[in-house]
Subunit: 394 residues, 2 copies
């Protein structure tokens, strides 16, 4: 396989965006082209992948990739849309990787885009629930918050995680989001305000007990883009070279109740193992990571399953501040899904965008010093289809 590099990265604000879905996708793409054009002399995109989950139902639009490639005046480049629920973004990056690695294409654009907020929150929750098992979960009224709530309760009983640990994730990621101009929730919060104060139950009510309002990511619109290229193209860049060195994907039972151990996220474990193996690095080598904290509990559990901490010890590392900016292994410096936002199809590409900035030393106030190895975990379904990526600054 040929080596694959990220030569450009762009993003829109993750927030409520009053633009059509195609425009959101194109704006992020233009930011990525601006990011790389001067450096690499790239004047041709061979293929475009667009990650999206909701266009057909939420935006009454299909063939999104065709609309995007035309709006960007990139025809006749081929274009396809990729859907893997909330992991659509990293799945699309994987397709881009294969296109370059195989030698089929030299420069591939991977966009993630979602426009969710034209439906109300109830419809958005129902829409996201369609990724659960159609016959064993969805028809019985399962939603993602309800699955996450049950999962959290089990995790608390088994490993001693408390609501305070969950709140620590939220507080950390909101603090990181304040340092990210593209983040959705730019609102400082404190343990006092969301848990200990008399107003906490009003400010931060239960959504799906034990998960509260501030344990759940917002519903966002947004787009993100990375441009992947062969070594020959990438090596013309004046920016630090970032290589997409590891790509791993794994699935688990579609229905959560069918898992041997419902507190294990086996697909997270396997996908990251595969990605690290391909990249030839270990979890201990990682300088900065973006994990899929759609619910605060997930950041803790993923930090264990990917091998950063022992099983059941993620909340203790969090407690010790190891995952803060300045800690041993900063997690979700962008603010994560919790603070930066979660435009579903865009999320995985947004994670890659943050890692590219970090590895290049362009992350401003949230920069992790000397970041060399970056990791992303993009979590589809309720852990039934997970894509992990490893990036290395050369």
């Amino acid at each position: 396989m040929r080596e694959v590099y990220v030569i450009g990265a762009g993003i829109t604000s993750f927030t409520r965006l009053d633009y059509p879905l195609t425009e959101i996708a194109c704006y992020s793409a233009m930011m990525a082209m601006k990011d790389c054009a001067k450096d690499c002399g790239v004047n041709k995109i061979d293929h475009v992948y667009v990650a999206n989950m909701g266009a057909s139902r939420l935006n009454r639009q299909t063939g999104l990739a065709s609309a995007v490639v035309d709006s960007l005046s990139l025809t006749p480049a081929g274009a396809d849309a990729i859907e893997n629920g909330p992991a659509s973004g990293a799945s699309a990056i994987k397709q881009g990787f294969l296109a370059v690695a195989s030698g089929m294409n030299d420069v591939v654009m991977v966009i993630g885009a979602e426009r969710m907020r034209e439906v109300n929150n109830l419809d958005a929750t129902d829409f996201v629930a369609t990724l659960s098992h159609p016959l064993a979960e969805y028809i019985y009224g399962v939603t993602l918050p309800s699955l996450a709530g049950m999962f959290t309760r089990l995790y608390m009983e088994k490993y001693g995680v408390t609501e305070r640990h969950l709140a620590m994730v939220a507080v950390k990621n909101h603090a990181n989001a304040l340092l990210n101009p593209f983040a959705h929730l730019r609102q400082p919060i404190s343990i006092e305000g969301i848990l200990d104060s008399p107003e906490a139950m009003t400010n931060n009510p239960y959504v799906a007990e034990p998960l509260r309002f501030f344990d759940c990511c917002p519903v966002s619109d947004g787009g993100a883009c990375v441009i992947l290229a062969s070594a020959e193209v990438a090596k013309k860049s004046k920016k630090p070279l970032v290589r997409l060195a590891g790509v791993g994907q794994a699935t688990d039972t579609h229905a959560v109740h069918e898992r041997t151990n419902p507190t294990d996220l086996t697909a997270v474990k396997l996908s990251s193992k595969n990605a690290f193996q391909m990249a030839g690095v270990k979890p201990a080598d990682v300088s900065v990571a973006e994990l899929h904290d759609a619910f605060t509990i997930l950041e803790i559990v993923e930090s264990e399953e990917v091998g950063f901490f022992e099983k059941g010890a993620g909340h203790l590392a969090l407690e010790r501040g190891e995952t803060k900016i300045g800690g041993r292994l900063p997690i979700n410096t962008s603010g994560g899904l919790k603070g930066k936002g979660h435009p579903v199809g865009a999320t995985g590409v947004g994670q890659a965008h943050e890692i590219v900035l970090q590895l290049r030393g362009e992350a401003g106030k949230r920069q992790v010093k000397d970041a060399r190895v970056g990791f992303t975990c993009n979590f589809g379904g309720f852990g039934n289809n997970v894509v992990s990526l490893v990036f290395i600054r050369e």
Copy 2:
């Protein structure tokens, strides 16, 4: 790039299917596994791609690939859904090609599946129209039959195609469908019955003038599957070896009215040129082809754009019987979209299934003698995103 072979092919009937979408996909996959298991000793699928267009809106299901990989007990294999409108199937085959060609995977399953008929025909037509330009076409009420109708009128005026030529495509493809046990419309029709008889206007009314009822493909449910593998795996097969030798994709303006010449299907031309070039064969080498006859006019025009006949001469070759089974270059031996049916996301994979049978000599009564090079053209949007594939029997 590594060479890529088709080691298994399976299909469901294309008709109204009273099974959930996941089951439709899985049934075709099991047929494909049955087709190859004994021959190749394959006992592991590395990755699954699922082509689908309508699950989110029509079936209230997202993350379809995760559901399929679990139902087939293929976890932890990675799985992604691919959407490129009616060309989703061939787009997914292309992804599978890249996964094997790159060396990432050795055995990849590519499924196409659609379940459309739980919505009524009006909703189905509206749904398919969402692949048109959202701001320049869809909001003004454009549908696919209306675009095809305008296109047909122009083509008639410019190149002398008549309603009789269109009817010849329908009659030929219905006749072929009668020889295909998996075809949707197993109904013999004649020029007399649909055009010349006093009852013709009742039997075959205008849908979007000059296109009549029998010029339009049916709305079908169905699934199809091909299993792709590396040479090392494929060469264990006892069946004739079919190589996926050429893959081409091209886009055109999303809105039809923006094209320099609205009777040209540039993306068909470019995608097939790319596919032939990669395969190292010429259009004249093709023994059998499946073209995307969602409307009868499209078979004629595509047969010109891909290089089988001169521009404007496709209807003359049809008239001379060259595209019949037994003719110089049989087109749509399966019945095509017109006779076999058009379960949108499954169509491109269904085309590949037919070519594999033909190249192996397993097409029964519709077998093309000594077929060695097969070609498929899968047409997304109204020609805005086209994928062409070339298959060679070794």
